[in-house]
């Protein structure tokens, strides 16, 4: 136990050193007069970041921008989670549906979210709906794919055991296939969170009047390097926090899957 704690502190220390080095190198580079024209130093960026919570960028302060982007992310991600798990599990468990659906899915899956943007804007306009749809597309594919593999690789012995214990088809799906697929589904959600987050930022970069992606793109338009970096910083930190959140959810759902705890 003590050893584990010591190991944890070692890890934290190592991470702290690598962050400190990044900031140091960045600061040294920014002190070079040539370079500093295109790259403000870390402290200027941090200062701008904190100020932006009080002084609005565009019409909104930073917290509002964050919440706007997060709500777009959440709308698309939640829809993708529900529909993606349903489609993936059904496709993985029912052979007939798989034969019908999988070729179509495999055709659509490799299309990058970015390639959908023009089409989605033409179909849904430039409002909120288009952003939800793009986030949805970004997360949907990997969630379906992983849920599909989860349902596909349910242990046959367990399926047979359940059948012997009298499971009908519906009970088999709900009491065996779904719980057995939870680890695979969680893996899909991990990937889905990240791709949904990049999709929402991409959507905001293309067309929007608020949100963290918009902060970056207006920074570019106004040649405001500090604002661009603030935007990127916020995107990185929120992306990291979302990944941690989903990992936490996975830990709770997959307690049984951890050996020797």
């Amino acid at each position: 136990m003590l050893e584990r704690k010591a190991k944890m502190w070692q890890k934290i220390a190592a991470a702290a050193v690598s962050f400190a080095l990044l900031i140091l190198i960045w600061q040294l580079a920014a002190m070079n007069p040539q370079f500093s024209q295109v790259m403000p130093g870390p402290f200027a960026v941090l200062q701008k970041f904190f100020v932006s919570f009080v002084e609005p960028i565009g019409k909104n302060v930073m917290l509002q921008h964050m919440l706007i982007t997060l709500s777009r992310w959440a709308a698309g991600f939640i829809a993708a989670t529900i529909l993606g798990i349903a489609l993936g599990l059904t496709m993985g468990w029912y052979r007939g549906f798989e034969a019908f659906m999988r070729p179509l899915f495999e055709l659509v899956r490799p299309i990058p979210t970015l390639a959908w943007i023009p089409l989605v804007i033409l179909w849904c306009g430039i409002g909120e709906l288009a952003k939800y749809v793009l986030v949805f597309i970004g997360a949907f594919m990997s969630i379906v794919q992983n849920a599909y593999h989860g349902a596909k690789s349910v242990d046959r012995t367990i399926v047979n055991a359940a059948r012997m214990l009298g499971c009908n088809d519906r009970q088999m799906f709900f009491t065996i296939v779904i719980p057995a697929s939870v680890p695979a589904i969680s893996a899909g959600l991990q990937i889905g969170v990240a791709s949904a987050w990049s999709s929402v930022v991409a959507a905001e970069l293309v067309r929007s009047s608020s949100g963290v992606g918009w902060i970056v793109v207006t920074g570019q338009q106004n040649n405001n390097m500090t604002q661009i970096l603030v935007g990127i910083l916020v995107i990185a930190v929120i992306g990291l926090l979302l990944a941690l959140l989903i990992r936490r959810v996975e830990d709770v759902l997959c307690r049984w899957n951890k050996r020797g705890r």
Binding site: I158, N160, R163, M164, L165, G166, T175, A180
Partner: protein, 249 residues
């Protein structure tokens, strides 16, 4: 007494092929109600295929399997199966695993609790009821399967080398438990094993299968008095006789 029992399972000209490979070749026999039948045979002769055919986990190629004079039907007949591999649901606690079959059969809560407690006690898992299968040992995992199968009070119990992976102490203990449960419940048991001593210790009848394609070589009646002593002369004689019958070389 044996004559009065009615036929529980009738296997009639059962044949099972995987492509060109004939695994079971025209197998016919009866199992009486409440009988304890051990099935022995050379390794890889198709013992597991045989059980899987009886339960309809595999489609059979030809022949018929009747339970109580009706085509076997898992929804109608309460058949339990204890597998060679671990089959505990890893996402359920041990207690939930043992109660799984009862949940499926919609047994009332109180009755379920009673049955689960009883079974956990018998297989010695009561102290581990809230653990997950991955947290306990190999032998405990096998006991989960046994408790889960018995909890539903099956009319037919199929066991496929269930004790093959257990240490010898525990095997003896669980064999005695099995005999006790069998006597108490009157379940019809089909028990596959490659361990002749185990077969002689447990069975009323021992069915010897031949090498592939597998058919019934002989059925040996085992009337040794219980409790059986593995060191007694009669026991050793019976064991040698069965061993002799299994040899195919």
């Amino acid at each position: 007494m044996t004559e009065q029992r009615k036929v529980k399972i009738r296997v009639d000209h059962l044949t099972k092929k995987f492509g060109d490979l004939t695994v079971l070749d025209d197998v016919s026999f009866d199992v009486k109600e409440g009988e304890f039948l051990c099935i022995v045979g050379p390794t890889g002769c198709g013992k597991t295929t045989f059980l899987n055919s009886v339960t309809k986990l595999y489609d059979i190629t030809a022949g018929q399997i009747l339970v109580n004079d009706e085509e076997v039907d898992l929804k109608k007949h309460n058949i339990s199966y204890i597998f060679q591999e671990f089959s505990a649901m890893p996402w359920l606690t041990i207690e939930q695993n043992v109660g799984f079959g009862l949940d499926i059969k919609k047994v009332p809560k109180d009755r379920k609790k009673e049955l689960v407690d009883e079974m956990l006690e018998i297989v010695g898992l009561a102290d581990f009821r809230n653990f997950y299968p991955q947290q306990v040992s190999t032998s405990m995992n096998q006991r989960i399967g046994i408790a889960r199968a018995f909890a539903t009070k099956p009319e037919i119990l199929l066991m496929d080398e269930p004790y093959g992976q257990l240490d010898i102490d525990l095997r003896f203990k669980l064999e005695d438990e099995l005999i006790k449960l069998w006597k108490k419940t009157g379940t019809t048991v089909l028990f596959i094993t490659h361990n002749v001593e185990e077969a002689v210790y447990l069975s009323e009848h021992i069915m010897v299968l031949t090498n592939k394609p597998c058919h019934v070589k002989t059925v040996i009646e085992n009337t040794l008095p219980r409790p059986r002593d593995v060191m007694s002369l009669e026991f050793v004689k019976m064991r040698d006789h069965v061993t002799e019958m299994i040899k195919w070389w």
